[in-house]
Symmetry: none
Subunit: 194 residues, 4 copies
DNA sequence: AATGAATGAGACTTCATTCAT
DNA sequence: AATGAATGAAGTCTCATTCAT
């Protein structure tokens, strides 16, 4: 069992403060303009401490991303899936995704949605495999009938979802991400899965 | 009555060199890491000259964007539209868009696709009005039958297209943008316009 | 007689435009931040033209200064001095000086009042000799009785006047220069000349 | 409970080196021509270090100004005032002021005496209130009899003093500031306070 | 674990001035 | 006389990162 000495507990707390402060600040301040020093000043820690916990500010973005991923999995897993059609499951999947982007905020989404972000293109992510599984099962159960492969369908759906979030960022959140996601995904799902 | 003296011509040439050099370099080098100094060195002009012609490097991106827009209009206008269905026109529209992104290159597209880029969200752009017109006419002629408004349809299509280009950037151009665009847009068009 | 060809007339006109534009701009814009390019843009002349007429922007300040000096002399000379006491003449002298600073404006005065400006310390300036003459005559006619030399008296008066204009600049013209000058000089004159 | 660790002490020392180097250099080199880089080179610190301690070079001028102010207060407070007339106190006040400008040097004075310097026009400065107190008390005790208000008297005196220092700067310190100040202030004091 | 002083490369931009036309 | 494109030195300031304490 991990023994959490006072020191270690303090360290965890400090790291959490940095994390929370960053998440708070990135909503206000463009990610690229957010410097380590600014974060530290607001978090009331020294820059040295920052570098003790994170290699750089990109690492925090990654951490947020992974935590969001994990959160997504948990929520998705706990959803009552039994009795739902593949289509319903897909729509539910992206509803949840929209909820999460909304929850982590526009600032975080803006930071994430840049073309150099290779967090997106990891096909091993549980999120990705989850969707693929839904589709594969949908095909197996004849709920989805399409000339496209599960892989293609998955890709189209993610591409669409990213297009919507990107638009949401561009338009500074001036529409409901959740509603737009639901509407668009429904359209695509019907088109590809009928 | 061209008032193009030799000096004026030289100036135009110099600006073109900067423009071309930039476009060339942005394919190799991440836009944010591309400095004015680097551009000038490669273009063999002084930094002063650069600032004589452009306010900063973002202005070049804008110029490329506007030129691409104009190029798009010209090409689109010259397309034989007569006899084509609204659906065909829409698909042709996005085929051309994909061609243009391809032509201006992955580097330029990456520079363009960031969430702070408000060049995208100008609804007055001719490109935007063109698509709306096609849709409006398609609805009027009963070629497009949808419960969605022309405005909504237009938005869905652009959002999808941006999602595809964004994906193309993320994946470093590892698929054919033109093919993907054609395929995805066809799916959406069928879904929304049937 | 100077023959003013069309070309020469044009040149004089152009120089005047630059001069006037500068005087106008220095009221708004801090002198040090006023660049040759800005002046030229506003004056609608090329930078080359600027350098054809002036060596740099300091030369315009000098020209203004000398013109103001000349203007001062003319006005001062035309004043009916006959019958006036030395004291009255001194007060009148500085009243006029205040009028001129006021007329040329706060911006010009701010540009002038810096500690590197050696236009001030030229004791050969007619303005300086004028005041000295008044004082010398005042002493000779027993209107001024002081243990101080004419030279000292002159210096004290100019120092005081400069202190007032400097204060006027510091306080952004928030009091009447002419009134303050009149009041202060009266005090000093009475003190030193009684 | 001094929390001065060795590192903190080193930091204070570094800042002092920058401060001292600046003060030394401004005597030789025109303030506007004194660049951060030059200061750092001479002080043997990096520019980063400079900006760690000061926001820009103007902040050093401010610091000098405030320290001089504080120094003035201390000296003035410690002066035996008891038994002195208001007039004597005023003259003593400006004697001290002249001493301080002399002590901080011509270069510093030149840097200070520009028309954009709003350090001067803060009427809350202790130096300002000190003089006003002396005058008010002098009026209350019938040592100063004048038709002018304490506020006006104070302003005339400061204006005169600034005129003298400005002149001293213009003439590159070619006269004794302390003597001139003493002489001029005496004249004004007698005139306004008799 | 935490601190924060120090580094210095490097980005951006300005601007006086020249000179061929 | 007038133009304005071109130059490039020089200044300001930022910021990720290190390291002794």
């Amino acid at each position: 069992m991990a023994k959490l000495t006072k020191r270690k507990l303090q360290a965890i707390k400090t790291k959490a403060i940095i994390y929370d402060t960053f998440l708070e600040m990135v909503q206000e301040c463009e990610f690229e303009k957010l410097t380590v020093e600014k974060i530290c000043k607001k978090a009331n820690v020294s820059v040295g401490t920052f570098y003790h916990h994170y290699r750089n500010k990109y690492e925090i973005i990654e951490e947020i991303f992974h935590r969001a991923d994990k959160f997504f999995q948990e929520k998705m897993s706990s959803k009552q899936i039994a009795g739902k059609t593949a289509t319903e499951q897909i729509v539910g999947f992206f509803d949840l995704l929209a909820q999460i982007y909304n929850r982590y905020g526009l600032g975080f989404s803006k930071a994430l949605f840049n073309t150099r972000n290779n967090l997106f293109i990891n096909d091993e992510r549980v999120m990705v495999t989850m969707l693929r599984d839904i589709i594969v099962q949908g095909i197996a159960e004849n709920q989805i009938i399409s000339e496209l492969s599960a892989e293609d369908l998955k890709r189209i759906l993610f591409t669409t979802a990213r297009g919507i979030v990107f638009d949401w960022c561009l338009r500074d959140g001036d529409f409901s991400l959740e509603e737009a996601m639901h509407q668009y995904i429904l359209i695509v799902v019907r088109a590809i899965a009928a």
